[in-house]
């Protein structure tokens, strides 16, 4: 039913996950210059995907709320069965 939303969110999830993984690696390898560059690029792409998603489907963080009525409360929440 909401497959377009699902596949867009999956892209955000995948890019954010790449950032999480690099984040953990960099915490123990802070001087790995190449890894930092890869992180910065991944974060940039994740941010773009997130903004594209939020533009169509609403905020992913409360502070990204940008419409009326207060959009943050809207379903679906991540644990909901769809």
């Amino acid at each position: 039913m909401n497959e377009a939303r699902d596949s867009m969110l999956k892209e955000v999830m995948a890019l954010d996950f790449m950032c999480i993984e690099l984040n953990l690696y960099l915490d123990t390898h802070p001087y790995d210059q190449r890894a930092v560059m890869v992180f910065v690029d991944a974060a940039r792409r994740a941010k773009m995907a997130r903004e594209n998603f939020e533009r169509m489907y609403g905020p992913l963080t409360a502070s990204a709320s940008n419409s009326f009525p207060w959009p943050w409360i809207e379903n679906p929440w991540p644990w909901d069965v769809q």
């Binding site: 999830m13 123990t28 963080t61």
Partner: protein, 239 residues
């Protein structure tokens, strides 16, 4: 502080309810080797860590474990949503249902509630880090047990992801332990102010510490020591 991101770290889309599986999966919510124990352990231990690397790693892995807690909660919720009470009772969740209905409550697979006795936060970096290594292995083993009991690919998929994350966390904690032990084994040395700066020894902050020896791995560190920590900055100089 924490910011909530309105998505799961990994998708959970369970099409078929199955309370029998929920009864077991819930141990990774409130059980001894589950995600609540993991996140509470790491987020508590981070306060007393001496090195930036350790603080960051415990902080970030602890945060990720909270995301995993959410995934397990979602799995349990989706497995039991809408299931009639009689069916829940037949599948072994009668006791749980009596107290919690279809809510998610932190218990282990036998129904014992979560306790802080599951975690340790010793304040000793080596003790804490080896506890964390053990915790990740126990979590991995538990996920393997759960996966072996499951037959629904919708449930196995996120469990397999979580198991892989435990393996990665184990690697990270291993690196932090190595870094912490290397730091503890360093010989601390102090620089004594040369005479020509004309400051009397009493005024200088130099104190040779005579009982320092190359630390072995399990010696509690003189924390906060860096090579030039006892050199006082030059005062007005010429006198």
């Amino acid at each position: 502080m924490w910011v909530y991101d309105k998505k799961l770290e990994y998708p959970v889309k369970i099409k078929n309810c199955n309370p029998r599986l929920a009864k077991y999966v819930i141990t990774q919510y409130g059980g001894p080797d589950g995600e609540l124990a993991a996140s509470l352990r790491y987020l508590s231990q981070r306060f007393s860590m001496p090195l930036e690397v350790a603080k960051a790693t415990l902080n970030d892995i602890g945060t990720e474990e909270m995301a995993h807690l959410e995934i397990i909660g979602a799995i349990v919720h989706q497995l039991t949503k809408g299931v009639p009470a009689k069916v829940l009772e037949k599948e072994g969740l009668g006791g749980y249902f009596a107290d919690h209905d279809r809510a998610v409550y932190p218990v282990n697979a036998s129904g014992s509630p979560f306790t802080a006795a599951y975690i340790a936060s010793k304040g000793d970096p080596v003790a804490d880090l080896v506890e964390d290594l053990a915790a990740e292995q126990k979590a991995r083993a538990t996920y393997e047990n759960l996966i072996n009991m499951m037959d629904d690919p919708d449930v196995i998929d996120p469990l397999r992801f979580l198991r892989e994350r435990e393996v990665v966390h184990f690697q990270r904690f291993g690196e932090v332990l190595r870094i912490v032990q290397e730091k503890l084994n360093e010989r601390p040395y102090f620089v004594k102010k040369p005479e020509f700066m004309n400051v009397s020894p009493a005024a200088a902050n130099v104190s040779p510490i005579s009982n320092v020896s190359p630390a072995t791995a399990n010696v509690s560190p003189i924390t906060g020591v860096s090579p030039v920590s006892n050199v006082s900055p030059a005062t007005t100089g010429k006198k």
